[in-house]
């Protein structure tokens, strides 16, 4: 490496590198960087704290809602339902067949079958809240609806 060209190049490069090394950065530039970093970190801390408190508040709200929903509360007032008297149903009494006994033998004679009246239908009229709607319920004697 005794080539004078190489040595000259090295010396030249060393001068350039030295010039770059000697360049001093103004102290204000360092201070500015530190200031920027610290303020950014403080902002991050504030943001983190805000998010933490928000998360805590949200969790507390959810917990309160859950407790309110799951805990047995005071008995709810029951809805008052207007009680309507059941419609009176009138049944027509069925005539009992008269028993006729034979005079001498005492055998029961079949009498004339009693005339069976048409079974009356009970009409149950139910009023609803809506005056235009009336439920009419037809029921026979057995209780079957028609």
């Amino acid at each position: 490496m005794n080539d004078p060209d190489w040595e000259q190049d090295d010396a030249e490069f060393e001068k350039n590198a030295a010039a770059m090394r000697e360049v001093t950065i103004p102290p204000a530039a360092f201070a500015a960087v530190r200031q920027r970093v610290l303020s950014e970190m403080q902002a991050k801390k504030r943001r983190a704290a805000w998010w933490t408190w928000s998360a805590v508040a949200a969790a507390a709200c959810v917990a309160m809602v859950c407790v309110a929903y799951l805990a047995p509360g005071p008995e709810r007032p029951r809805a008052l339902v207007a009680r309507k008297d059941p419609p009176r149903i009138e049944w027509t009494a069925r005539p009992v067949a008269q028993r006729v006994h034979h005079k001498s033998s005492g055998r029961l004679l079949r009498g004339r079958a009693p005339v069976r009246k048409t079974e009356p239908l009970a009409v149950v009229k139910m009023l609803t809240d809506d005056p235009n709607v009336i439920i009419i319920w037809l029921v026979d004697q057995k209780g079957d609806s028609l």
């Binding site: 770059m20 530039a29 960087v33 920027r36």
Partner: protein, 192 residues
Amino acid sequence: MADFRLKAETAGQSSGLLERAKTGDLEAFDQLMRLHEKQVLGTALRLVGNLEDAQDAAQEAFLRLYKSLNRLPDILEIKPWLYRVTVNVCNDMHRARRRRGWEPLSGPDPVSSQPDPELAWVHQERGRLVEMALKTLPEKERAAVVLRDMQGLSTREVAEILGSSEVTVRSQISVARGKLKKFTDRYLRKRI
């Protein structure tokens, strides 16, 4: 030659700082930054070529340091770690700038420490010329030459920081010096 890792006594003082900084003590972190600001800002300035971008890069490097404090087991690891991060941040900035296709305006010029104004001017011009020449180098060569020749690290240390072998770093530095020489010669010939 600058010491790559912290000296023992400095490390002893700094380990307390590191522990305090890990607990979120901003004052301790401020002290840590003061210990490493010359290294970070100086490297960034040589890599990106202007003070404004160098400040941005240094800020990003320190913020990354703060995020990674808990992953750094030892104060001795901070210096090489910061070099690595600074180089990466500057490379990212170069790539982003290339993608956007614009060159930012240069910030205020760093000043020369020479007391003689004429000599200071010569140094400043020379520094500016090297700065321009450095911009023409590829990322890895620029990082190698800045860390080796301007930050004064050894080839082994540069290799460790850049994640390359020593042979690769030597070759990169040699090629980079050749390119710098060619650039400065051409520039000076044009000016003359």
